[in-house]
Symmetry: C2
Subunit: 344 residues, 2 copies
Amino acid sequence: MSPRITIYDIARELNITAATVSRALNNNPTISDKTRELVLEKAKEMNYRQNKVALALKSGKTFNVGVIVPRIDRSFFATVIKGIQDELYPHGYHVIICQTYDQKESEIDNIDALLNAQVDGIFMSISNAMTELSELNRIIKKNIPLIFFDRKREMPGVSSVTINDFEGGYKATEHLIKTGCKKIAHFAGDRTLHIYRDRFEGYKKALLDYKLDFDENYVIETESKVEAGMEATNQLIKLNPLPDAVFSSSDFAAVGLIKELKANGYAIPDDFSIVGFSNEPVTQFMELTISSVDQTPLEMGRMTAQIFLEQMNSSNQVKIEKKVVLTPRLLVRMSSTKKVKNKK
Amino acid sequence: MSPRITIYDIARELNITAATVSRALNNNPTISDKTRELVLEKAKEMNYRQNKVALALKSGKTFNVGVIVPRIDRSFFATVIKGIQDELYPHGYHVIICQTYDQKESEIDNIDALLNAQVDGIFMSISNAMTELSELNRIIKKNIPLIFFDRKREMPGVSSVTINDFEGGYKATEHLIKTGCKKIAHFAGDRTLHIYRDRFEGYKKALLDYKLDFDENYVIETESKVEAGMEATNQLIKLNPLPDAVFSSSDFAAVGLIKELKANGYAIPDDFSIVGFSNEPVTQFMELTISSVDQTPLEMGRMTAQIFLEQMNSSNQVKIEKKVVLTPRLLVRMSSTKKVKNKK
DNA sequence: TTGTATGCGTTATCAC
DNA sequence: GTGATAACGCATACAA
């Protein structure tokens, strides 16, 4: 077990002081070229590594940031984290990940731990359960950047990066209308969550804009699971008149929908055009590829990181509050591309 | 911006010294109940939080571990990380993630950064490109636990958690044989990687054990991508005699295989039985669910973390070297379940 | 039972 | 241009 080499070790070897070594290593101008050379050489020879922990204690900056997500094994969140990572790594930051499983206690716990660990910033996709804004205010009071992504909460001085769920819902529905669908149903998520409410509102607005009836009976709430989508489908096919399209707030529900529709002898997209939401990997791997609304998670992660970097660079006390809203992309695939003529 | 409360602040308020406060906070027995009460109360009142960075500098332990993976947005790795996290979080550890994109420079870079950050342990799935074991030896020399998972390298004193790829290949092939397949082809990965070589060897051994011919012409190397699987399929269907089953080392290649086979008018599983590898989420979402070999990533993560914890607890210098080999699980789904009678 | 002093490794502020 | 010293926040060996 080799002991850690410190600047004192180098200093001793060179018969100078640690301060000088530090100066040489940090490219401090007030030092002679000769000693700098000497130090650099010796440091390399002795395989010196700066101790970031000591530096962190001294400077107050750890170059660690915390990311709080419901869970990491979901394509969307994993990709957001990837975006954050890719952007931050070149600047020397490390990403500490925390999972909450959408539980409030866990969120508080994680914030606490990250604060104790002295992270330089916290990025979070906040759960609906998190009502105690006092915990969040602790972050603000410490003056460390807090940035929401995907799911946010309105807080003064806090930036956020989200996508325009309304627009996503609107685009999906508009696409269905423009390809000739007349009676479009909606698989909605939990509409107490703003993301699902917005998708629903976008759907509704598109119908009205194009002079189609909006009928609450054609809105079915489902969880974001294949099985839930299958169950919802059984409700759907009892509707009269039968819809000719479905905009689903969830790709997984859309997968269940397609399975069940096929099981009932319906053809897709000829009998039902379908658009999902999230661009889960599965949508492009299915034999019948599923149209979906991409949430641009990579860009979301990148943007979140960029805002953080800006915030760090604005050395002064100026609080920046940025609300970035990304535009979702509609990806048209087979599930909404009728092979035959338009019905219109 | 509220300043950080330290034990000195508490001490001042109580007219005692920081040492006493520290003792009270750490449940040191050598302190009177009364002062402990007092300190605890005051600490709560002032909202004191221990500074982990200072503690880390003092103790040499950061309670951070580093995880190095090719990329995080792959279901397998995300799930392994989840397993690690779930196991370690209750013990106060945080997980720092690093991505390498399978590039050697990036791996070295990450190791270096983690070492500088003074992590307490490093878990990695090592790329084939990583040939410089000197970097890895730096970790060992520092006496910080290094544990391989999934992809390992043989190093004295280094533990690893892998799955038995040979057994996975064997089980998959055996299953195909037992369901009546006579001529089984293999989509192999890059067989310079031991994981792919082992899967191939398992396939080969199963054939021989069951008195079926092994023929290298029926082994096609493909990348782990849908498109690669489609291309390989075009080679496959030119074989004479035509195989009646395929064991694919990659689920993605299997997806491409199925797409292309259907496009050529073949029925699955009646004309071709198919088993993939990895249990990617897509395999269970497809209309035709794909049989696959599950690598138990959650258990892999958990086990990796457990070995780390053991290593940390064995305070003495005893080096533990554990080689854990997990048993893969064969998941039989529709792609290898012939509806009709066995051909035998 | 409590206080004093020291060190973890670094950088910054003084001197010289 | 370089050295000495203090400080970041904490825990602990030693003294009292």
